[in-house]
Symmetry: D3
């Protein structure tokens, strides 16, 4: 049994990026924790907007089997407004409490929150202290953010790890469908059809029907 920590910038990223892998980890008897850092909070959004996404998240969590989760509630795009050491401290506390063997985080991409969270995760998962126990640190891709990094200027996602989610693609899509406020109709860039297509593309290039792709940053054994 492994402790798995999923770090999601906003509610829906955990399902969009790693929903199938989470369902698989849980089905295999592992202990999964989900940490949601930010969200559509005041002052840029209403608290109702935020509460709506939390409600949708709880429905999605139920479908995926997630029972351990935590919402840090930092307003979206304002992560950089508090001192770096404050976010780093919160991230570090989570690592110390959950003692993860596997950490899956967002890729540093088009969304400024993703970049700042990525930096903070990299600090908190250094192979010292609580970080020493981590066996795999990897970044997942987020449709409609990761592939909007500037080609050949900013880092461009190329996977070196794909998880077979063939048995969990249906569960993933059901969970994602809970996020009514976030998921657009096809051909929206994070529509259910786009999500399914990415899973099929990643899967078939690795020998599966459906897969979720990762960039392994650090693995130890």
């Amino acid at each position: 049994m492994k402790n798995v920590l999923i770090i999601a910038p906003h509610p829906d990223d955990e399902t969009l990026g790693v929903g199938g892998t989470v369902a698989k980890f849980i089905a295999d008897g592992n202990n999964v924790n989900v940490l949601i850092i930010s969200g559509h909070l005041p002052p840029l959004y209403t608290i109702e907007a935020y509460d709506k996404t939390v409600e949708e998240a709880l429905s999605a969590f139920k479908i995926l089997g997630i029972i351990n989760y935590n919402f840090l509630k930092i307003p979206a795009t304002m992560i950089g407004d508090e001192p770096i050491h404050v976010l780093n401290k919160k991230m570090n506390d989570v690592i110390e409490e959950t003692e993860p063997d596997i950490v899956l985080t967002c890729y540093p991409d088009r969304h400024i929150d993703h970049q700042q969270i990525f930096q903070s995760v990299m600090v908190a998962t250094r192979p010292v202290g609580a970080g020493k126990k981590i066996e795999i640190l990897a970044a997942y891709e987020t449709l409609s953010e990761t592939h909007w990094n500037a080609a050949h200027i900013e880092p461009n996602f190329t996977p070196n790890w794909v998880v077979d989610i063939t048995k969990f693609i249906d569960v993933k899509l059901q969970a994602l469908a809970c996020y009514k406020s976030q998921i657009p109709e096809f051909p929206g860039p994070r529509s259910l059809e786009a999500v399914e297509a990415l899973a099929k593309f990643r899967g078939t290039q690795y020998g599966f029907a459906y897969g979720e792709a990762f960039h392994i940053i650090r693995m130890k054994s």
Copy 2:
């Protein structure tokens, strides 16, 4: 009206990689030439195997509307066996004859033929002589080859140009279905489902329903 030259290592690459774009270019009244460099020829394959793929190619060409094509018939994996200047000469002759405005070629990937053809195309399309007329030189992706380059060691495909093929995805898939000897069942890495999924992924991340992706190497205007 533009002259468009498609360079395909083997029969089926032209449909797999750029079938939708070709159909669109033709529908828009452009002049498209397809150059097939190699194929499953003796001594590694039987001539019957090769003839079968040519027959399939001609069916696919019909569906896509391709009427100008040329088969160089160099045996697969043996492109490097003849002196470099011989392949370069053939490639150069094609550029001089077809005077392309747009050249679409394979990406230098897992298949050794793709690497050697890429090198030769890069020589033939230098912005001198006949090459001066070329407005766009770009490389397309080939499922089950391009994404098998070693992650973070060999070049990894990141597109900077996507063509909207929403109106031509059906034609592309019909043409591809002609290659019965080459196209496996799902979840094969170049199955019709995988091809459709890639088109949906590329398209939705650029604002379309379906797209074909390219890496622009050189554009002038």
Copy 3:
């Protein structure tokens, strides 16, 4: 006729980076908008210093044929001092108002303003909403900033698009000469001689006499 949006961090960048291309676009009957984000403003500079550069800019615009422009007047090096979402909002408003087909922006280079503006442009030009209409998003090079990025650590400019400005090199140099307060004598890194040399280098390597070079980030068709 295309709508073209030029995003310049400070007055003179638009002429230095894309003066020839702008003159060519206008000569070809396109609609060009220039957005100047920042400038030598108080508290680090006097308002007189800023007004001087605006006056020079207006002279340069006249020579290039620019009639649509906008000065956002954010003090230089202080772009990061206001919340990210504020700059992003301003940038987004400009995209919505001007509905550009082509966006040409600065490369993320040695100048901190260039980096922050680049990030903001990348957000505003995402292929959703008003961004969906954009056909080409590309970054230009700025002498004495772009080539001062740390070699092999920070992104290093390599062009994949060059515009033939042979007929407009004279106009470009005349416009640039208006910026008396900004353009040093040879061998200054953004002297007229250096600018002409870069144009000759970029042009001759693409088959022209003089050219302006770009890094295409995203193109769709």
Copy 4:
């Protein structure tokens, strides 16, 4: 129990690159196969020179616990002299026979044999056919070759996986000491002291005392 395949260009690379990991895999009850591709053979070397290295290899294998091995005996620097499909066929046969879960190969570096073997391994381990079973494909570093790639031109080794070999560093160094004809005195670039130093550097940066570092190319689960 996993099947592990180690691909070594020449006798000593297996010990130099992955001796500690091999000893650990064997100690943990896994099945390890070592494939030695080339060697100091005629015409560039005498057969006695080659036999000497094989004798040394067998002593080293004994210490590491290797009982399954295979010497392909292709003369050093002449791997490119036979047709590509011949080496590819041999490599493919080995994959089909050994059915590996884990493949550890050389990095494409300064030695031309390493580059050509790397290419061939990449073909043989594609996620189709026998390759579908492979869970991890990774490249190890070889002192005095890998770090002689041209900085920032050729691929430069950066690990994303380190194996803790603290308990096996002594065994590794003993095995390496068997290669009297290959291992120079300190400060030779592949001296025992250099090898131990690299293990200490890689280990301490990952939270261990001694480690062996890898570049994961493809992992699936």
Copy 5:
């Protein structure tokens, strides 16, 4: 005689990163200045903690022969809290006062202070004004920070310059031993054993016994 400027984020980085090179430069009669930017200062640390490291630094400086140094005393992780132009101004003043021929700075790595200082150094060393005199600008590596950058996402250190410190490895390790509050026991990532191992690895791969490695950013002659 050359003027050499060493830029260290915190006390101990100068010894850890370039202690041997500093001792060698001084032994060869050059003029070395050390600039320590930050440190373990309030509010995150006590002033006693900081004073302790300064005391240790002075002992280390004595051993290395450093007599010219300057502590800017900006609290650790808070470098980004003051406006960019303030740090840039301080950095620029130091360049103007010390007129360096050679500048050795930290690599932009896992520690946020290193990233921000690197940016500021890049601005202050531009080849204009006082920066014009600089012959070599290079970045050194810092154990337990530099190698914790995300593999293949953030810049990964690959040296293109190694200084032979064989005669100065003992002095370096003695000086480093002064930092009792900072240097952990083996296998700590910046233990004396790890530092010695890195020097041995870098040295032997360049033809020396011990070396310190650099990434040359800009050299002129």
Copy 6:
């Protein structure tokens, strides 16, 4: 006094790439050797064509002050036709005979000869044996080859070293003018005007009037 070895694929590359640096090295009293590897020889060219370029080379050498040179006379584009170890042996012999402190070689670019020579130089200059004495190994740029590498796929030249050739630009251009059979009129990509423009661009971005740019691969001191 330093021993400097210039490795040029074909006659004219030494002047085009490093003519100013060579003249400067000689003026400063260093010992410069020029090694010309290949040339326009039969069977692809007539011997008269080759003799013409040698004659032009000798005139250019006279102007630059080169008195030590060697023509290996391997037919152009056929360097790969002889076994790798043969070219490597020749290259190694030259390194042993000339005992260079500084080696300046071509960049691995569009011309296949440049790629193969680069590989061979990298082997011959390894920091062992005669290679141990080398202090600087760097690659120069060659107009109309280096900048024709595929953008963001193949290595793209970014300099980290520029030599001030302000006093030698006239001599360089005079020497280059000797190659009447090779140097086209403006705007030809290696016309005198293009060469001068590149020197002005490289120089002004480093604080000079005219410069020649290099990519340092390995430096030791």
